[in-house]
């Protein structure tokens, strides 16, 4: 078959037909148009990397979690669900999950409303809005480690901001990060500082997607600024709010760097998150089985969150 012939006679080949008779010729055709080469060259890098470092490890984690294993040699001491029962029996782990929950709560009750409020004030394109937007986003682009260290300094009773403020009133400052309870509260404030800019950016994008003519026509009908916000803008932004809450959830489940830099999980292991717990009690002590069990618990929580989110989101878009 001359090369040009097939190109003129046949329409562009996009499919590998499965009927037997034409298999060889269609393979040849798809080779010529590069489909086969494309498939064989373009997909494997992603598939190999992804399987090797993402999917297999997750499977391995659930396998390792049934062993008492220090990571050397092959895992041999099968101990059923003992790792899991130990994880759930550990008060420190439960405290860590509680802290995760607290982060989510503070995020939902303080951070997201604050971000929404601010976003509605600067969603227009005036120069002042642009400048404020840039400022509010700065904490978010810093590394968590950096944010943690900055606030570790600010909270330091002898030096930082907290110490200075207390001395204005003639008191000696408490060492915030050294007291159970206060350390966690301090962490929550840093989370708000670090991440509200991100939620704000989400809300600004969402606000700019609200069609202008809807607002304009309400304004012509004499609706006040507050009424427009309350009855038009906010309802239209519901999906973005759901999305933002979802990101808080996911963010909380990943919280790690900030804690290590700010409190190291202390005092008395009271300010851990699930991940920093995993690191401190699984990785640092090379208890691979135990750490994997924590990882699996985390994984299950994430999957549940995902399902939950999808259901809410489906309902949101169905009700429209």
């Amino acid at each position: 078959m001359p090369l040009n012939h097939s190109l003129i006679e046949e329409p562009p080949v996009r499919k590998l037909p499965s009927s037997k008779g034409s298999l060889r010729s269609s393979l040849r055709a798809s080779y010529r148009s590069g489909i086969l080469t494309t498939l064989l060259l373009f997909l494997p890098p992603a598939l190999v990397l992804f399987s090797l470092f993402v999917i297999l490890p997750v499977g391995e984690a659930s396998f390792f979690s049934f062993f008492n294993w220090n990571g050397y040699g092959t895992p041999q001491k099968w101990i059923d669900f003992e790792n899991y029962s130990r994880v759930f029996a550990d008060p420190i782990f439960r405290q860590s999950l509680t802290n995760n929950l607290l982060v989510i709560l503070v995020s939902a009750c303080i951070q997201v409303p604050l971000a929404l409020w601010v976003a509605l004030l600067i969603s227009d394109r005036t120069r002042s809005s642009v400048v404020f937007r840039a400022i509010f986003f700065i904490p978010y682009i810093l590394a968590d480690v950096v944010a943690g260290l900055i606030w570790r300094y600010l909270y330091d009773g002898d030096y930082g901001l907290v110490g200075t403020i207390y001395r204005w009133f003639g008191h000696d400052a408490p060492d915030v990060l050294a007291e159970v309870g206060w350390a966690t509260a301090a962490l929550l404030l840093v989370v708000v500082w670090k991440y509200f800019g991100f939620h704000m950016a989400l809300f600004i994008a969402g606000r700019q997607n609200v069609p202008y003519d809807v607002i304009e026509s309400a304004r012509i009908d004499g609706a006040s600024r507050w009424k427009i916000t309350r009855f038009i803008v906010l309802p239209l932004m519901r999906p973005v709010v759901v999305l933002s809450l979802f990101f808080s959830l996911l963010g909380s489940l990943q919280l790690f760097d900030l804690i290590i830099a700010l409190t190291g999980g202390g005092p008395l292991n009271s300010s851990h998150s699930a991940v920093s717990y995993l690191y401190t009690f699984g990785i640092r002590r090379m208890r691979v089985g135990y750490g994997s069990a924590v990882g699996v618990v985390l994984f299950i929580i994430c999957v549940l969150v995902m399902i939950f989110y999808k259901r809410i989101f489906m309902r949101e878009s169905a009700s429209k």
Partner: protein
């Protein structure tokens, strides 16, 4: 009425701006202070400007070494993420073949869980491959964990490119790999920038993965280096703050240069839903 609103707007915004900026101000200015000055005067200008904290850090090879390490890791991560994910996304967006849906779903599984859930097995994999204490031990897992999100973004964009272009190209005898290189990639610069920026920021700031796979401080990326430095000088805050400030410079510079791409990239979930 209008004036009252303006006043309220400026008041709220200024307060929030102070909340954002005062910690940064205290950090930058703190690096110029002596320990005694830090103790009594957290917010004001230094009584005596001390440059030593900054100079002593910039003068060490270790500081530059770890910035270099981070830069190498980030560069390879960005390039590989873009390459590998756009190849896969292109195949999934434009070719119809048996198992396409299955593969597409498989590759997006990574969206469901964060890296931390698999960190121990990843460590063991990296160790068994002999990649501990190397750049690749950080780069490869990072690329792998970037894939899902990048492929979703890229595939969505590729699929929206005008079909006529491809049909015309095929009629002219252009093969699929060449279409990818000559048509798809050049037309996809905005989304490639978004994905690239995401990978860059993620890699530059990554802490958990290098913490687990890198032990040798000659290969430390800067987030590990900064924690080590803090451990060394724990309450010598002037030094630590100077170090923190110096590491903020690249992040803020990049942010000011590519503000649009960064915000678009980091909030791209909002657009896609």
């Amino acid at each position: 009425m209008k004036q009252a609103f303006n006043f309220y707007r400026w008041l709220v915004l200024s307060l929030v701006a102070c909340f954002c900026l005062v910690p940064l101000w205290a950090t930058v200015i703190g690096g110029f202070k002596t320990t005694g000055d830090l103790r009594t005067n957290a917010l004001g200008l230094p009584k005596h400007w001390v440059g030593d904290n900054y100079i002593s850090i910039v003068a060490t090879a270790r500081f530059w070494q770890m910035l270099w390490n981070s830069a190498v890791i980030a560069t390879f991560t960005v390039v590989l993420t873009l390459l590998v994910s756009s190849l896969a996304a292109y195949t999934l967006a434009h070719l119809r073949f048996a198992g396409r849906k299955w593969i597409a779903n498989y590759l997006t599984l990574g969206l469901t869980f964060p890296f931390a859930t698999a960190v121990l097995p990843v460590f063991i994999r990296v160790r068994d491959l002999g990649l501990l204490d190397t750049y690749w031990g950080v780069i490869l897992p990072q690329v792998a964990f970037n894939l899902s999100f990048s492929i979703v973004l890229l595939r969505g964009f590729f699929a929206e490119l005008p079909k006529e272009l491809f049909e015309a190209a095929i009629m002219d005898g252009c093969s699929y790999p060449r279409i990818f290189w000559r048509i798809t990639l050049p037309l996809s610069r905005p989304i490639l920038a978004t994905v690239g920026v995401l990978a860059l920021v993620g890699s530059w700031n990554n802490f958990l993965l290098p913490l687990v796979t890198i032990n040798d401080d000659a290969v430390y990326p800067w987030p590990l280096g900064i924690m080590q430095y803090q451990g060394q000088y724990s309450t010598d805050w002037g030094k630590v703050l100077a170090f923190v400030t110096l590491t903020m410079i690249p992040a803020i510079t990049l942010y000011l240069l590519a503000q649009k791409q960064i915000i678009a990239g980091l909030t791209s979930g909002a657009v896609k839903g």
